[in-house]
């Protein structure tokens, strides 16, 4: 019996879109089991669903608000729509790069007897859906529940998420299309990733402004109280379901989608196959070095330094720590000063987490493992050199923090350097022991591949960080977080021995 692959007509727009969405969904993980793949999504959807329904219930009687309240709500919604679109442009840029450039299926699709415009439109809509989906997951339950509880206009929020995603995709397609033809695919890719990372990081920091800089947040909050002139307030009015602004926003999104599929997608597809220009790495002669450790360390540092995508992703992880760091660093009761133990703690945590990321890159994401295995070098020597490479930058970070402290707080400076190095070394070792070999491109989702390692490295960083802060304060309670970190390491050593014994048994049988 012939198997019916899909109910959509092969080659139709819906069929192509289904293909794009399937690939996008499969790109989020490596699990093949349906339950394993969708269980986290369902679990993730539970919280906003329950939260959204509860929030909608609590707001069911919000019928009578003052003009001042309306202004503030509109301004807040306007800012949310603007922030959302920036965040979505960041996400859409990465999705556009993946869909149009990384997947290498354009040649196949465009060589098929299908209208190119349909293929490109399906790809563009696929990007829009993947961009909108996570935001809809969080907003749709609230909007739908609100409609049920008497505010049908608030369904406009769902429409505005779709509008934002469409506009963001159109802007991303246009920008990347222009970049591709102006500076070539490879450089365009780097620039787009940097821009996307900066946008994402900026929005995140702005959302955490109260923690990072309460004074600036206070000053900006005055802006929310002033009414915005029309049509600047239309996106906000569309969110609450005012028909005219909503229609205008939908029309704008439609125009942008049409424009992007005519211009951006075609431009991008045409530029994808431009022969890449040779990229020179240096003008002077390469100095040949002696010694296995030196060549391995030098190779690893070169590879990291030449991978802007990895650097931006690592940088983003550190950016996400800033609000937490700001909370820790605001020492004293008035929250105005910066204390040395706080710096010691933040630098130690950052060194640990950075070392973990770098260790994954140099140990687990080795591009040519067979080359190293075929070389007349003991595997332990290779691993040691790689761990040194992974720890150099984090220890440098701890050293910089220590140098900043040494004049005013020499003891805290010493603690920062020692504990930063300890945190870096232990995190790197943990990753080297348990990290699974994966391609570098898997860096973003590496922790989803091993939840226990991810949790272990966070707890380890937290343990050493707490130890550093408490030692720097001269507290005897420093022993508690140190014990936590020690227990994690002891557990890791035992788990590793277990695995070695298991491997030995397998080998013997």
């Amino acid at each position: 019996m012939t198997r019916q692959f899909t109910s959509f007509a092969p080659g139709s727009f819906a069929w192509l879109l289904r293909h794009e969405l399937r690939l996008a969904l499969r790109g989020t993980g490596t699990r093949t089991n349906l339950f394993a793949r969708y269980a986290p999504v369902l679990l993730l959807a539970t919280v906003p669903t329950i939260g959204g329904v509860l929030l909608a219930w609590s707001l069911r009687d919000i019928g009578h608000v003052t003009a001042r309240d309306t202004t503030m709500i509109h301004n807040f919604l306007g800012l949310a729509v603007a922030g959302l679109i920036v965040l979505m442009i960041s996400t859409a840029s990465i999705a556009v790069l993946r869909t149009f450039h990384d997947r290498h299926d354009l040649d196949l699709l465009l060589s098929a007897p299908l209208p190119p415009a349909r293929v490109l439109a399906a790809k563009a809509v696929g990007v829009t859906v993947t961009v909108a989906a996570p935001f809809l997951l969080f907003t749709a339950p609230f909007a739908i529940a609100s409609a049920v509880f008497g505010h049908p206009g608030w369904l406009g929020g769902i429409v505005m998420v779709a509008v934002d995603a469409t506009l963001a995709t159109a802007i991303a397609l246009g920008l990347i299309g222009v970049l591709f033809s102006a500076i070539g695919p490879r450089r365009a890719r780097t620039v787009a990733q940097l821009v996307a990372a900066v946008m994402g990081g900026t929005i995140f920091l702005l959302s955490q402004l109260r923690n990072v800089s309460p004074e600036l947040a206070q000053r900006l909050s005055h802006l929310v109280a002033v009414p915005w002139p029309s049509p600047l307030d239309w996106p906000a009015r569309a969110v609450v379901g005012e028909p005219l602004p909503l229609l205008v926003m939908v029309a704008l999104a439609g125009l942008a989608a049409r424009g992007s599929s005519l211009f951006g997608a075609r431009h991008l597809a045409a530029s994808s196959d431009v022969t890449t220009r040779e990229r020179r790495v240096r003008s002077g002669p390469v100095r040949f070095r002696a010694g296995v450790a030196r060549v391995i360390v030098s190779k690893e540092l070169r590879l990291i330094a030449r991978d802007p995508e990895l650097i931006t992703q690592i940088g983003l992880r550190l950016i996400y720590l800033i609000p937490l760091g700001a909370l820790v660093l605001r020492g004293g009761d008035d929250g105005s000063g910066i204390d040395a133990p706080g710096i010691a703690a933040a630098a130690t945590a950052a060194a640990g987490l950075l070392a973990s990321s770098l260790a994954w890159i140099v140990v687990c994401a080795e591009d040519a493992p067979d080359l190293l295995a075929a070389a007349p070098v003991a595997p332990a020597a290779v691993r040691r050199a790689k761990l040194v490479a992974a720890c150099l930058v984090p220890v440098g970070l701890a050293l910089a923090a220590a140098a900043a402290l040494v004049r005013d707080a020499p003891f805290a400076a010493a603690v920062t350097l020692v504990m930063g190095s300890v945190a870096a070394a232990s995190a790197a070792v943990l990753q080297a022991w348990f990290g699974r070999p994966q391609p570098r491109a898997a860096f973003r989702r590496r922790q989803s591949g091993s939840f226990v390692i991810g949790l272990g490295e966070v707890l380890l960083a937290a343990g050493w960080s707490g130890t550093a802060a408490l030692i720097a304060r001269g507290s005897p309670f420093a022993i508690a977080p140190a014990l936590l970190a020690g227990m994690i390491l002891a557990g890791a050593i035992e788990a590793r021995r277990d695995r070695e014994r298991h491997d030995a048994v397998l080998q013997a049988t």
């Binding site: 490879r186 890449t276 220009r277 040779e278 990229r279 020179r280 790495v281 240096r282 003008s283 002669p285 390469v286 100095r287 040949f288 070095r289 002696a290 010694g291 296995v292 030196r294 060549v295 391995i296 030098s298 190779k299 070169r302 590879l303 030449r306 991978d307 591009d367 040519a368 067979d370 080359l371 190293l372 295995a373 075929a374 070389a375 007349p376 070098v377 003991a378």
Partner: protein, 243 residues
Amino acid sequence: MTVAALTVSKLRKTFAKVAVDDLDLTVRAGELYALLGPNGAGKTTTLRMVAGLLAPDSGGIDIFGVDAVADPMAAKRRVAWLPDDALLYDKLSPLEYLEFVAGLWGIDPGQAATRAEELLRWLDLWESRDARCETFSRGMKQKTALAGALIHDPALLILDEPLTGLDAGAARQVKDLLVRRVADGGTVILTTHILEVAERLADRIGIIRAGRLVAEGTLAELRSLRGSADASLEEMFIALAAE
């Protein structure tokens, strides 16, 4: 008596099923040996064990008199391994790659720099010595990897499908290099599905099937084995593989 370049005795490796089945094989020093066989016959597994990338379940591997199982480091110093999927780093230039490989094999830096220049010039890569490998064609990548395999002047060069995906010019360069290598006293083992290459280049040919050597010898010896003086290697290969 000359020491054999490679002696494999009773070599065995099992994954889900037996991949290499008590294989015996000898490659003489200074010859080009072509190891042929259908897909899944155990060619790559055998060569990966010889290169020290896989541990055999049982059996011995002797490389120029060195027991590769007991002393893998000493054996690896004499061997270079080049698979069809080049062992390269996209973000390094050819010169940086050669510096790295030379460092791994412990070659004196001055000597390595001179040799790197020779190899890159000979393989027409000198002009691209500072370009990143990620911008290279498949042929250029394969030639860069070949330069890496030769930087430490290995006594035994093992190539697994070295001509896959190469254009005629690059394939010709690689074939010339192999011939020159053997003329200079080196030993080369290669696997290939392009039988014409084995027919023209190899001093001896081994045909492996289901992890066992089913025929071995010069082209003339194989023909006499089949009792057909004018049979092509392709005809003999298909007949042997099907038996």
